[in-house]
Symmetry: C2
Subunit: 110 residues, 2 copies
Amino acid sequence: MGISKTEIFTDQQNEISVFAKVFGHPARVAILQHLFKIDTCVCGDLVNEIGLAQPTISQHLKELKHLGLIKGSIEGTRVCYCIDADNWTKMKHIMQEFLDQDVSAKADCC
Amino acid sequence: MGISKTEIFTDQQNEISVFAKVFGHPARVAILQHLFKIDTCVCGDLVNEIGLAQPTISQHLKELKHLGLIKGSIEGTRVCYCIDADNWTKMKHIMQEFLDQDVSAKADCC
DNA sequence: TTGTTTCATTGCAATATTACGATGAATTAA
DNA sequence: TTAATTCATCGTAATATTGCAATGAAACAA
């Protein structure tokens, strides 16, 4: 139905999928990589850096902010966005625990 | 337009987002965790393990298989699925490189 | 004040995803 | 052969996502 039945999954499974979903669009990956690369950033720079319209970038920034991965502060008419280091680290541990699952030799049965 | 403009992003950005997207649904996270937990698996077990209909599980398995993260072999009337260890490792390195980006102290400007 | 800049929000169209009933294909059992 | 089992595929409905033009809100400049 286009809606995920989140209630039948564990909190951990839902948390992993929520973080993964936000990385599931190349524009948001590009935004995060750009924020990592430079030290200070404003939304306008991102519109130039990435080839999407300003409302589209703003929408992607909103999603990243909603998950706590970035934070923004108003600087006059501009808005300064950057990575939220603490929340990024927390997310990283959750994702790495999922990615680091070991495959036993026996598992390779097919 | 509901379609990602993949052509304006780098191959690396697109690759990260494609892997992330497949983890962006709790059912697929649950399927992978189950395949890691037990050593051999058939689709029917997954339908019982996860509370979704058989065609839905089959559809999620198809997406995981398409990315090469799992592989399946026919065993009579059943199909045995398991993690593709090599491809999982490759994917893990790509995702970890993205997650492991360092945040400089200066970046925390907001 | 008026205009300018910058970013957020609204509204909408196009497309993608999720879920499942019905059905099909392949194998096994009787 | 016929029936049963198992999983894939088809078709479709409900919902979500993506993208942008138009517009709004807030701060600054003249």
